[in-house]
């Protein structure tokens, strides 16, 4: 039980996928302009990442390892992720047309979110068990959503802040992200 808690905390805070491992930066900068969109994107990514971590574990353990095909890891995981994203897209389109409109092009773009592939590959590299893999995926997704929501809340305020001319727009966003990253590095002694 403690192990699982450690994995969860470490995935959310200590090894935060965005601010410590620097994966999934594109949606982090791209979808963080509005809080609503950020929450939607966080939810969709959480769903996809958890599902992708689980299914890539299954593919790895029951297909690739018995057949001695570890070198096909990357390509099969990409296949798995693409399918999960497509499935999520259909699911959201059916259940929540509004969220579907809000997410728009970012939903298919989860496919190319490096965080998703990164988590799947890390799971195999760390030889996680099934429960550990799914928990690590879920934790990383929670961490992603957390910083995405925090960051978008900050950017909404930054939009009204008196920023010096050369730093306006994306530049101050990058600086803010860097400062947030410094703060999250401070968690490294936690676990």
């Amino acid at each position: 039980m403690t192990d699982f808690l450690v994995i969860l905390i470490s995935a959310i805070l200590v090894n935060n996928i965005v601010l410590v491992q620097f994966l999934g930066l594109c949606p982090f900068m791209g979808v963080s302009n509005k809080l609503d969109t950020a929450i939607g994107m966080g939810g969709a990514t959480t769903f996809v990442l958890t599902l992708a971590a689980i299914s890539s574990y299954l593919v790895n353990t029951y297909i690739l390892l018995p057949l001695d095909l570890e070198y096909l890891k990357t390509i099969s995981f990409i296949l798995v992720i693409a399918v999960v994203v497509q499935f999520t897209k259909m699911f959201i389109e059916k259940t929540s047309p509004l969220l579907y409109r809000v997410l728009g092009v970012f939903l298919p773009l989860i496919t190319t979110n490096c965080a998703v592939l990164g988590i799947a590959l890390q799971n195999t590299a760390k030889a996680h068990s099934f429960a550990e893999s799914s928990l690590y995926g879920f934790g990383a997704a929670l961490g992603f959503s957390l910083v995405l929501v925090l960051f978008s809340a900050m950017r909404e305020r930054l939009a009204f802040a008196d920023v010096p001319e050369p730093f306006k727009g994306a530049a101050i966003g990058m600086i803010t992200a860097g400062l947030m990253s410094l703060a999250f590095m401070g968690f490294s002694g936690l676990v």
Binding site: P66, L72, Q86, F87, F91
Partner: protein, 204 residues
């Protein structure tokens, strides 16, 4: 079986990928049927807001095609029969700034009008019948035509095609039978709390 596959790594790699792709393909095919979206729900919502006069002043054959093209990004200010109230409602639904009515497509008239055919001048050409989106004009070739007043939405579309200009748009006289209380103006407190859930602060 696995031993056999292990002897030929290329075959096993190919087989594994093909099997994976086939499984996932089947899964997605199933999902596509299971989660099939019946039309675009936003189009239905837009269609419900439009006045359903089917007048075609927006440049589309009817209200639903206009709703369809709004959902694909067309301007929302092309509906004169709906007027500013419809534009505001659509802007609210789509969460955009409400523009003013585009005068190019016609002016919003406060007065409800109805088409009237001066029957002794009508030559029975049926052109207005073909133009009418509401099927509100009665008549046949070489026979005098007339307008079914309660079906007419006053969209002006029959005026243009008439070769003898015998159609007038007459304002509808208000009689004791047709008079009704005017609806509460949009934006007032009375209008905002007209539904119980609005009063509770929920957003419909």
């Amino acid at each position: 079986m696995i031993d056999l596959l292990l002897q030929y790594p290329i075959t096993s790699a190919l087989l594994a990928l093909v099997a994976l792709s086939l499984t996932f393909g089947a899964l997605l095919g199933f999902a596509a049927v299971k989660f099939k979206v019946e039309g675009d729900p936003i189009v239905d919502q837009l269609d419900a807001l439009l006045p359903q006069t089917q007048c075609g002043q927006c440049g589309h054959p009817g209200c639903r095609p206009y709703a369809q093209s709004i959902s694909e990004g067309e301007e929302i200010n092309k509906c004169p029969p709906g007027g500013q109230a419809t534009i505001n409602a659509i802007a609210d639904l789509l969460d955009v700034e409400a523009p003013t009515l585009d005068e190019e497509h016609g002016e919003e008239s406060e007065l409800k009008t109805v088409a009237y055919i001066r029957e002794d001048e009508c030559i029975g050409c049926t052109k207005c019948i073909q133009a009418c989106p509401m099927d509100a004009i009665l008549g046949a070739a070489k026979q005098m035509h007339t307008v079914i007043a309660i079906e007419c939405t006053g969209c002006d579309l029959c005026v243009e095609p008439c070769p003898v200009d015998c159609i007038d748009m007459l304002p509808v006289e208000e009689t004791l039978q047709t008079w009704k209380w005017s609806p509460p103006a949009a934006g007032t407190a009375q209008m905002n709390n007209i539904i119980a859930t609005d009063a509770a602060g929920e957003v419909a």
